[in-house]
């Protein structure tokens, strides 16, 4: 999995590269728009993380050049301007997703994974299983060690998200957005409470524990010995 990062701010670029490499990706880093344009047009990347504000040629040009050349590589753009027009423009030009600076790295990682997954065929299963936890997606039921666990609808949706993306650290904002459709930060610890309640039902009476808190990042569900 090779990614391209186009970012002129040197510290940001370095940390993005380090973070993504440590998450298991191969990374090319371009520090100017021209380099980025060249690498994007010639290299074979699975995904491009593109800063919009570049000193020489801006990110929009690169996206447009790619799309004009028929290149469908997913593009995640980074913008410092929290502007509706900016987002709309980017998405219209063919970018696939956006993040507003400042963003959390865990958020970036989650979105990169989502975009990469998009290309592959979705898993059309009616059952999900992690260790002894089983989810019946049709009847919206969860069992652990064969024991039925009563979950509310939202709790089930939350658990399904964690299971589907097991091993990935999911930031709180992403969970709020995917489960409750709340696309903004609130000052509250709503997600922590929801996870705590889910844990009480899933993990408290069972071993091994499946849901983990990744401090400063978010939550992840993992079967022991797998990750």
């Amino acid at each position: 999995m090779k990614l391209l990062i186009v970012e002129d701010e040197s510290k940001t670029g370095d940390y993005l590269r380090q973070g993504l490499m440590e998450a298991g990706f191969a990374v090319d880093l371009a520090r100017t728009g021209l380099d980025g344009h060249h690498l994007a047009m010639t290299g074979s990347h699975e995904l491009i993380v593109l800063d919009v504000m570049l000193p020489d040629i801006d990110g929009w040009h690169i996206v447009k050049a790619l799309r004009d050349a028929g290149n469908r590589v997913p593009v995640l753009f980074l913008t410092a301007r929290d502007c509706v027009e900016d987002r709309v423009k980017g998405l219209e030009l063919g970018a696939d997703d956006y993040l507003i600076k400042p963003f959390a790295f865990s958020e970036l990682l989650a979105r990169v994974r989502t975009l990469l997954r998009r290309g592959s065929a979705p898993v059309l299963a009616d059952r999900l299983q992690v260790a002894d936890l089983a989810l019946d997606l049709l009847r919206r039921r969860a069992t652990r060690s064969g024991k039925r666990i009563n979950l509310t609808q939202k709790e089930f949706a939350l658990l399904e998200l964690l299971v589907r993306r097991q091993g990935e650290v999911l930031p709180r904002s992403l969970i709020a957005s995917l489960v409750w459709d709340m696309n903004f930060d609130s000052d509250t610890n709503v997600i922590d409470v929801a996870i705590r309640r889910l844990r009480a039902k899933i993990d408290d009476d069972f071993e091994p524990k499946l849901i983990y808190t990744v401090r400063g990042m978010g939550y992840t569900l993992e079967a022991p010995g797998v990750g």
């Binding site: 929290d82 959390a104 409750w180 903004f184 609130s186 509250t188 709503v190 400063g216």
Partner: protein, 473 residues
């Protein structure tokens, strides 16, 4: 091109008033002069007519007194004597056959002999003509005697040059007077306008003295003429708004500086302390986590401030679509349910409202901020109520919760940025103090209104949003 578009400056007030008064005075004097002239002219005509009547009576007398048989010589003598003492009066007498019996020396009266004879002299029916550069006024009078078979026709005329001379000099005087009066009136008007504007100049120089550091100054509305009082009051009101905005802005900057300085100081100190000696990996990790939390808080604050700056500058316009408020509130209840339950707070929805045209994301954010604020300030065992209602194209959303009384002086300032009812409650738990400001800016962007009230120990936030018609664009 731009010069073409610039609208011309309207004419100066002094010019307008002066021109208007000048025209009005001149017209008034002209009309007045015309009336006076007419009346004098008429008076002269009457005078002449009187004179001619007297003359006609004398002639009639002379003709009457005569012996029954003709004696031309004595008749002529009598006629000549009849008008003695009347200067500038001329006449001729003709008998029925048209033969001239007598003609006084003077102008040729045959000019008007063709006129139809009248029975007596009427001032309005006098004929005016010129002969040898002199002007005369005259009439043809038929004189009939009872029992006399042959009537005489008398032509009488009076010279009117001295009248005309008088009129002409009168006209000249009148014109001169009109001119002088108009000039005087214009001058007076201009002086009055200039003088009348002196309070304006006074105001202007006072206004000029109000600099940004002296915005507290106000103009005294009782020290200006009544016409300017309203202007002064509106100006003062504007000044008040500017001062408020200015103060809020400088407070905002100070608050931003303060809000950012505190975490940055913490971070710096913490990092320096940690770096001052070698520590275990665990300790380093701990400090990084602690830093991370601080960074996230700052990032959120920056995001909120950006949002506010954009709504302030009208950069963020609501993308209107149909919003089902009941569904929105239900979704928010879903979201906050677990958290509220943990705090022992229950959530209730009352009433309903028709779908509204608005930006779903923005409205959701506003309601979410209000709801989390309400839940946070509710004592366990109580409930937060959201009530929806609609009336007259207005949708009302009330978010209320029982809780501690909010002192009235805080109510209006709740929506100010970084404003906290309790200044000691900095930072912890309450976010950066921008939540309610964001609510207000979102409601403002939707052209709605929001008020905070305190009713019987219940904190109430009431939003009124206009029901915008579904636009097709």
């Amino acid at each position: 091109m731009s010069a073409e578009r610039t609208p011309r400056r309207p004419a100066s007030l002094a010019l307008r008033v002066t021109v208007f008064i000048g025209i009005a005075t001149t017209l008034i004097f002209l009309v007045f002069g015309w009336i006076v002239e007419r009346s004098i002219e008429h008076h002269f005509a009457e005078q002449d007519a009187d004179e001619l009547r007297v003359v006609v009576a004398a002639i009639r007398h002379a003709l009457l007194e005569g012996p029954s048989e003709r004696d031309e010589a004595s008749l002529q003598k009598r006629l000549a004597g009849a008008v003695s003492g009347h200067h500038g009066v001329f006449f001729s007498v003709a008998d029925a056959s048209g033969k001239q019996v007598y003609a006084s020396p003077g102008p040729d009266l045959s000019e008007i002999s063709k006129l139809a004879p009248v029975s007596h002299v009427d001032a309005n029916a006098l004929f005016v003509w010129q002969d040898q550069q002199k002007t005369y006024r005259g009439a043809v009078v038929r004189i009939e005697f009872d029992g006399h078979v042959v009537p005489y026709t008398v032509i009488v005329a009076a010279a009117m040059d001295f009248h005309l001379h008088y009129l002409m000099s009168f006209q000249r005087t009148l014109w001169l007077a009109t001119l002088l009066a108009s000039f005087a009136a214009i001058l007076a008007a201009w002086l009055a306008v200039y003088q009348g504007h002196s309070p304006l100049r006074g105001l202007s120089s006072k206004i000029r003295g109000i600099s940004s550091d002296r915005l507290h100054l106000r103009l005294a509305s009782n020290q200006v003429p009544i016409e300017l009082a309203e202007l002064v009051e509106s100006f003062n009101a504007m000044l008040q708004r500017i001062e408020d905005g200015f103060r809020r802005l400088s407070n905002f900057s100070a608050d931003i500086a303060h809000e950012l300085r505190t975490p940055v100081t913490n971070l710096t100190t913490q990092t320096q302390v940690v770096l001052s000696k070698a520590r275990s990996i665990e300790e380093y990790r701990e400090i990084l986590y602690s830093n991370l939390e601080e960074y996230e808080r700052m990032a959120k604050m920056i995001g909120d401030m950006l949002f506010l700056a954009q709504t302030d500058n009208l950069l963020l316009k609501p993308e209107r679509s149909s919003v089902d408020l009941v569904a929105e509130v239900q979704a928010l209840f879903d979201y906050f349910e677990a958290w509220a339950e943990e705090r022992g707070v229950s959530l209730r929805l009352d009433g309903s409202a028709p779908a509204l045209q608005g930006d779903r994301l923005m409205l959701r954010r506003a309601l979410s901020n209000l709801l989390s604020n309400a839940i946070r300030h509710t004592t366990p065992g109580q409930s937060v109520t959201i009530s929806l209602a609609s009336e007259n194209n207005l949708v009302r959303i009330r978010v209320e919760n029982p809780g501690s009384d909010i002192p009235p002086e805080h109510l209006s300032r709740l929506f100010d940025r970084f404003y906290r009812v309790d200044p000691s409650r900095q930072r912890k738990g309450d976010g950066a103090g921008l939540g309610l400001s964001i609510v207000k800016s979102i409601i403002d962007a939707h052209e709605g209104r929001i008020v905070a009230m305190c009713v019987n120990g219940r904190a109430v936030f009431e939003i009124a949003l206009p029901q915008v018609e579904d636009s097709t664009d």
